[in-house]
C-alpha cells in the first residue's frame, strides 16, 4: 500500500530547511507541520502507512526551534465518515522532543486526518493534516 501526499489543514507544510536546526528530525521522508512557534516532524516507522494494519509513527516536536517540553497526544479520524480510529495511540517519549506513537491503525482506505495535540504552559496547540491513505 502506498501513502499519498499529506495535505495540511490547520497548519502549513513547509520544507524542512525552513525549520530550526535544533528541531529533532525523526528520519528520512519525514513530513512537517508548522504552526509557529511549534513544528512537528513525523514519519511512519516502517516507511509506509498501511490500511488495516497497526503502524507506528516516530515524531520530533519543537517549540521555537528547541525540543518541546510538554504533553503530546496523537489521534486520527475520517472527517467524511465521522469516525476515528478504533485504537488509542500510545505516545512514548524517546528523548527531548522525540516521540514514538504506537497503536495507530487506519482501518479503511480514504481521507484520514492526523492530529497532534500539544499541551504546554501556554495552553493547547493543535496541528493537523489530512491525507488520502491507500
Amino acid at each position: 500500500m502506498k501513502v499519498r501526499p499529506w495535505y495540511v489543514v490547520l497548519s502549513m507544510l513547509v520544507p524542512s530547511v525552513a525549520t530550526a536546526d535544533d528541531c529533532p528530525r525523526p528520519g528520512e521522508g519525514a513530513r512537517q507541520l508548522v504552526s509557529e512557534p511549534y513544528v512537528v516532524s513525523f514519519v511512519a516507522e516502517s516507511g509506509v502507512i498501511p490500511v488495516g494494519e497497526h503502524f507506528t509513527i516516530v515524531a520530533g516536536v519543537c517549540r521555537a526551534g528547541m525540543p518541546f517540553v510538554g504533553d503530546v497526544q496523537v489521534s486520527a479520524d475520517m472527517p467524511a465518515h465521522g469516525h476515528g480510529m478504533n485504537y488509542r495511540p500510545e505516545v512514548v517519549t524517546l528523548g527531548p522532543g522525540r516521540y514514538r506513537v504506537s497503536g495507530m491503525m487506519f482501518h479503511m482506505p480514504g481521507n484520514w486526518r492526523l492530529v497532534f495535540t500539544l499541551d504546554d504552559e501556554t495552553g493547547r496547540h493543535v496541528l493537523a493534516t489530512e491525507s488520502d491513505v491507500r
Binding site: 488495516g52 467524511a80 485504537y87 488509542r88 482506505p109
Partner: protein
Amino acid sequence: MTPSPRRIVSIFAWLVGTVLAIVAGASSATSLVEFTESERYFIESHGPWPPPVVVDPGNRFSGDPRAVELGERLFSDVRLAAVEGMACEFCHRRDRAFTDGLVVGVGRQVLARNTPTLFNLAYNRWFGWDGAADSLWAQSIRPIIAQAEMNADAGIVRRLFETDPIYRTALSGMLEIPVGELGDDAVLALAGKLLAAFQETLVTPRTPFDEFRDALLSADMARAARYPLAAQRGLKLFTGEGQCSLCHFGPSFTNGEFANIGISHMIPNDGVDRGRLAGMRKLKESVFNLTGPFNDDVTRANAVGTRQLRFRHTAFGEFRVPGLRGVAATAPYMHNGSLATLEEVVRHYSELDMDRLHVHGGQILRPLHLSDEQIGDLVAFLESLGATPPGNTSQSGQVIEKQQYDGHAEQ
C-alpha cells in the same frame, strides 16, 4: 475461369468464418466493464490470493504438523464436550463450509448468533461476532467451556489428554511438563492452541474473481473477459458506488473491524445483543487475551490491538465485518442469521433503514435503491468469490455446495 462449386463453397465458408471471428472479437472487446482508477485500486486490494502462510506468534504450536493433526482430531472428538454426541464439528460442519446452515447455533441451548465459517481465520485480527477474543486459540476455548454450548471444563480436557494414548503420546513429545501438571487455564489454552493450529489450515482456494483480478492487473484482457459480465458489473458496484470495499477491504474482503449495518440487535426474551461493546469488555476480562500469561509471543508485540483498544459507545450493536470468500456457501447471513440468501443481503443494503444506523455508520452507508438487475449483478459477483459454481462440491471440502436456508432452527 469460372470457379468450381467446391471453390464457391470454400470461399463462402471462409467468409462466414471471418464474419463470425469478427463478431466474436467484437463481443470479446465489449465483454469487459470499464473500471475507474479508484475501483481498480480496490480490485487490486482484494488480492493476491492465497496470501502467504501466516504463523501465529502467540501460539507456539502454530504451523506444527503434529499440532495440526491433534487439532483436527480434537475438532471431531465428542469427548471434548460434556454433551453427548457434540464436538466442534457438530456446529462447524465440514460439509457446510464449517457452518451449520442454521439461523442461529444450537448447542446445549439455542444460541443468539449465527455460526460463522472457519475458513480464512488465520488472517483475522478479532474472533467471534463481537471480537471478544484476540486470537484464534483463545476463541477456540470459548465454546468448549460455554455452558450453552459444549459445557466442558479443564478437567474433562485434561482427562482426555491423559487417557487417550494418541493425545498422551503426541503431547509428551511436545510439552516440557506433563499435561497432568498443567493448571486448568493452561490445559484449556493447550486445547485452544491445538484447535487453532488445525483451523489455520482452512483456507479457501482461488476463485473466478482472483483469475479476473490477476488478469486485469496484468492487462490480459482476453483472460479477464472470461469473467461473467454480471459479476463484473457487480464488482463495479461493490468497489464503486456501493462503497462495500471500504469495510470489506483487502484479500479476505474484510478490514477485520466492526460495523453497525442496521441489523436488529434484539434477541429473544427482550434481550439485547450489544455486539462489539460487550465484546471489548469480555476481551479485557479474559485471562486468555494476548496481554495475559498464555500468549507465547514473549515480545507481546502481537498484543498491541488489545492493549490499545479504544472503548467506544458507538460500538454498541456493531459486529465483526465478515470476510466474503466462499460466502455463497455460508447462508444464512448476518450475526443473527436473519437474512436467508445473498439476494436478501443485497436488498438489505439497497433499502437501508437509516434510522437504525448510528451516525457514523450513516455517513458511509446509504440506501442505493438498486434495480433488480443490479441486485442480480452483486449476487453474481459475490457468488464468484467461491471456487466452484453453486451446487458443486470440491474434493478438498474447501468449497462446499451452496446452502439452502434451512430454517428449522429458527427459535
